[in-house]
Symmetry: C2
Subunit: 431 residues, 2 copies
């Protein structure tokens, strides 16, 4: 331990915010890193689209490569640190090249792993390599480590997470400012908080990628992004936030995954969580992940989900593990052991919050109530919030019901002719 | 990875709640553990004071040893799992025997490591072994792993923790029930929540042991329990809890460690924390640790700090790391690199809450105010809460001041002759 003084040598592909952050840590904290790893941590070569750009850290001492695949194959590179992003293209090509050369890969690329994770894990294993991706899930929070290693002796019963800071910022800001979604969305865009394609954020896709990775490790399943039910926050109104608050809840874009007899139930969707729970108390861009194990009970982890420092911290945590000789299989066990779980819709009954606009005419409410009753969905609370020209906004909280029963009711409502638009339906998650 | 099919063999010393929990996990989750570790996890031999006792799990398949030192030296034991407790005696003897034989040790023994940690880490290193102690700090929360590994690339700026569930239970219960300390203490004792020597809990010693271990890893220092300023919760009154609540704070037995130019500032003492912070929202026996790094910012970890399942989960997480071949130095770096930091009192100014009883006579308050002023402590708020026979209870919140200035003021108050008992002084910690 600590006897091996050969440096561990990084090839750094991608010099955006996070890549520059990694270079800064390697440079500034060299002595501490070497003391902790028992060997120096060095960068051999770097690679980015543009060479001439001030990144706030000197890079002249490192070899430059234009092609990340060439970088990955260099004989003086032990670990490929992939920070380019994108599910395919150069990131995937470089990762495959590194693995084929028997080199470990550290990446922050949630999209690549959510799509190609199983194939890459198999490829890593075939070559005696491994992939680490702490930075891909909830930024600086060491959640993959907690789940894969710290809780390794647990059977996981549920994992949950608020893992898109932008969405949580938007929802918090709508609530605090009493502002409509469109206005806060425009504000977030102007502040540069949104991805180039904002659907990745507000559509729940980015957070869905993260949930796919969490679920694979938690339940020993092949990562399956396509099996996750994804809904974004675009239809959440300030009215939903206000009504939820009156009921003692807050609206969060919440990922939930659990294994049931039917298969893996995983969804990333706006949910109501109790205001006085840790998830309900989460403000702004902060992330939170909740891990529930049969031995440990509930573990809650909270921290920054993005940004240069936090993400670089996570990347370097993985690098330090590899430098120390800790090499855990990509998804916590042999890729060949991971099972292909059937994606399943939520089977555990939960209460739901429904908001809809009814045609303002006699008998409309009765028709909706009848449809719910026929589907076996019973009503806990119902409220007509106010009246507008020709529209009667109605709010319903159901008793616990299955998603299948709820979907049957929602389908039935279309046929009544009194529901003016598809209702907003939000699960109330018991946390 | 996963190619080595030789089992990893445990010698389990101590068959109390946690030891039995470990045996249950090894038995019931054998397949999952083997899949994740890439090799079977087996128990070779066990040891406890009493052999004939139903521990809720069959132990007949394992060899029995009466002497834990003999257990530690068995040729069929790869890892000593030390769950006997006690800072010296059999636990220390067995740990030393295992290390001398080049075997790794997994322990939940915070007292032993807080007292003998440096010597044991050196002994481990000299023999090519390591000691893992996740279960010793905050029970099931994987905080040592987060700090030692996940945040390895950070310079830590502060670590904080509510790490004695019994104390947090007592404080929460006093608040919820409006009950005096003595009554809740008796209740906790009747419920079996207290150690045989309750001073370990309510005196802050148990939590202080944990803080000593956190601080050593966070700041790269030799573990130094004696350098921690420890105060218990025995003098906290329901009046303190009520006054704190009115000011927007809650009282927590909070450990805080930071490194300053003067040395390691570490204290375990009742503090006021903002009611709307994660620490302020903590209820009952739940533990919370806050890690602050120069890269990652603030990470908050919350979970069960005690109990069979959570503690066994932490023990087995360590075992799984060793089974996977991950062997990190005991305190995160070579024991020889750890520095002997001078213990220092808090140098960063903080506001303080002071409660005292003054003699009910003219000029008493003026004398106290004068003493504070002479010591350079300025008053933010002062309140005489009510009047009792001969006593005037007074509450003061100071502006931020150093502990040295406050101590000078407290010493000066004794000389006034109007302060009827030593004031209760609680730091208001900015979290």
């Amino acid at each position: 331990m600590g006897g091996d003084r050969e440096p561990i040598r990084l090839g750094l592909a991608g010099l955006g915010t996070v890549g520059a952050g990694v270079a800064k840590i390697v440079r500034r904290n060299a002595a501490a890193l070497a003391a902790k790893a028992g060997r120096p941590v060095a960068i051999s070569a770097v690679c980015a689209r543009t060479r001439d750009k001030d990144r706030g850290v000197p890079l002249d001492a490192y070899a430059w490569e234009d092609d990340p695949v060439v970088l990955a194959r260099r004989s003086d590179v032990d670990i490929l640190v992939e920070l380019m992003g994108g599910s395919d293209g150069p990131a995937l090509a470089a990762t495959e090249a590194a693995l084929d050369a028997g080199k470990d890969v550290v990446t922050a690329n949630k999209a690549m792993l959510a799509i190609h994770g199983q194939a890459l894990a198999e490829r890593a294993e075939a070559n005696g390599a491994t992939i680490r991706f702490e930075a891909a899930v909830a930024g600086g929070i060491p959640v993959m480590k907690a789940l894969t290693e710290g809780l390794a002796a647990n059977g996981l019963t549920r994992v949950m997470g608020v893992m898109n800071g932008t969405c949580n910022y938007i929802l918090t800001r709508m609530e605090d400012g009493g502002l409509p979604y469109d206005e806060v969305f425009a504000e977030a865009k102007a502040l540069g908080y949104l991805e180039a394609d904002p659907t990745l954020d507000v559509g729940g896709i980015d957070a869905g990628h993260k949930l796919a990775l969490l679920a694979a490790v938690a339940f020993g399943t092949r990562v399956d992004f396509g099996g996750i039910g994804i809904e974004g926050i675009e239809r959440i109104s300030i009215e939903d936030i206000r009504q939820a608050a009156e009921l003692g809840y807050r609206v969060k874009l919440l990922g939930v995954a659990r294994m049931s007899g039917r298969g893996l139930e995983a969804s990333m969707a706006p949910c109501l969580v109790p205001t006085d729970s840790p998830l309900g108390q989460l403000e702004g861009a902060t992330n939170m992940v909740v891990l529930e194990g049969d031995q440990v009970g509930q573990i809650v982890l909270r921290g920054a989900g993005a940004g240069e420092g936090p993400t670089a911290s996570a990347v370097m945590g993985d690098v330090m593990d590899l430098a120390r000789g800790c090499r855990v299989p990509t998804f916590g066990q042999s890729a060949g052991h991971l099972v292909a779980a059937a994606p399943a819709r939520a089977t555990l009954p939960a209460p739901y919050y429904l908001r809809m606009a009814l045609a303002d005419r006699p008998g409309a409410l009765a028709k909706v109530a009848a449809v719910l009753g026929e589907a076996g969905v019973s009503i806990d609370r119902m409220r007509q919030t106010r009246h507008e020209a020709g529209e009667a906004p109605v709010l319903i909280v159901t008793h616990p019901t299955t998603r299948a029963a709820l979907d049957a009711a929602l389908a039935g409502m279309e046929g009544t002719g009194v529901v003016l638009a598809a209702p907003v339906a939000l699960r109330i998650e018991q946390v």
